[in-house]
Point group: C2
Chain length 242, copies 2
């Protein structure tokens, strides 16, 4: 079984289109490569109540929840308060995190930066040699900052902890359109019920018309279904396979 | 009051990172420009039950819901079935949509393409002179295809229907970091409680350290709050304003 994941993106700036969310597409690719099934991506506002409600409702239905955004020293950074709300615990100064922040910032430590040491009670610091400030998690909820460079650095330090079974995936790029492909895909699915087939048309201007994806936990079934589709397509309509 | 919106992105290809969702960032910018408040963006799998549940639960809490993806002739295009599930109606052949599809495709009409005329009972075709195939909506739920070119063409044809009151927005790009800005922002919010202030730090490599956004329905309050912040910042730390 694959682990399941929920990605929660916190930020008014995403909802208002001021900043483009590059973290969730990156994370979707990463989790897929690790064999983790992302069930949903939810983008919500910087509101303690909303963050708390979403996490309280959805965290129990997923193996892992990853939040990005809303972490920092200003008034609009409320993700940690939302986590505390979800778990019904207070936010309090975490002495070890305070020590780490004091060491990291040294003389440049403006008092508001210490707010980043105010964590939900019971939150765990997840240390990695390559990180000067550790990751934090509360149960299955991992809280990451939204700034893409820091987000990636922290994620890459801990990504191997999330590895699950690999997905088997094959692709076919074809010149046939979806109207012609539909019956072929249905016949293939009837013969190979263990696979999932995705069909992704693109607008003219590419060297193919539709990309097909064939997926399953069963590598042999994926290969068989791919061959089944290829048998039904005129070879001149197949641009490439993978 | 601003209209509120929910964006629902349907597609396994987004959740698995195979295809990057460019529609929701575009739509977020568009809706903000139209004065519509996007409350949430939810990305979910190509599953009738999931789509139905999300729409049933969330459509009543928003003025408008816009879905992208999962529309087309193949087996994995199930958004319309999900809408039918949400509204508790059957899917049936829509004679006018059938006529339009036959005219559009002409002799090239493969039978599966006609499935795009199978719509939830009661779905309304929203015609625009510039569209050869109309938009569709069911109550406050507008269903758009996921392919970005077609999505944009359809959206741009109907976008003016969604216009609400404009948002007032000002920005400040500054060299100060969030630790220094935090008390300034809090003092400004205490003086100008009608505004919302966002603080968006970037990683070194930009010509600024933090972008501040000041928003409200009240244009004068936005201007006042922006001036208040500028009064408290050394002029040499302000890169630009807008």
């Amino acid at each position: 079984m694959h682990r399941t994941a929920l990605i929660v993106v916190v930020g008014n700036e995403i909802l208002t289109g001021k900043v483009e969310d590059t973290n969730s597409p990156f994370l979707a690719r990463e989790l897929y490569a690790l064999g983790v099934q992302v069930r949903s991506i939810v983008t919500i506002a910087d509101e303690v109540e909303t963050i708390g409600r979403i996490l309280r409702e959805l965290a129990p239905c997923h193996d892992v929840v990853i939040t990005t955004g809303g972490v920092g020293p200003t008034h609009d950074d409320v993700t940690l308060a939302g986590v505390a709300r979800a778990f019904g615990v207070p936010v309090e100064r975490h002495p070890e995190m305070e020590r780490i922040l004091r060491e990291f910032y040294g003389a440049g430590l403006a008092p508001p930066l210490l707010r980043m040491a105010d964590l939900p009670r019971g939150m765990e610091l997840v240390d990695q040699a390559e990180l000067r400030i550790p990751c934090v998690r509360m149960g299955n909820v991992w809280v990451f900052p939204g700034e893409p460079t820091i987000f990636r650095r922290k994620w890459l330090a801990v990504r191997e902890r999330f590895r699950s079974e690999p997905f088997a995936l094959a692709k076919i790029w074809t010149l046939k359109d979806e109207g012609e492909l539909a019956p072929i895909l249905e016949e293939t699915l009837a013969l190979h019920p263990k696979v999932t087939i995705g069909s992704y048309p693109v607008y003219p201007g590419h060297d193919y018309a539709v990309m097909l994806t064939i997926e399953s936990d069963d590598r042999a079934a994926v290969k068989d279904a791919q061959l089944e589709i290829l048998r039904r397509l005129p070879p001149t309509s197949v641009v490439r396979t993978e």
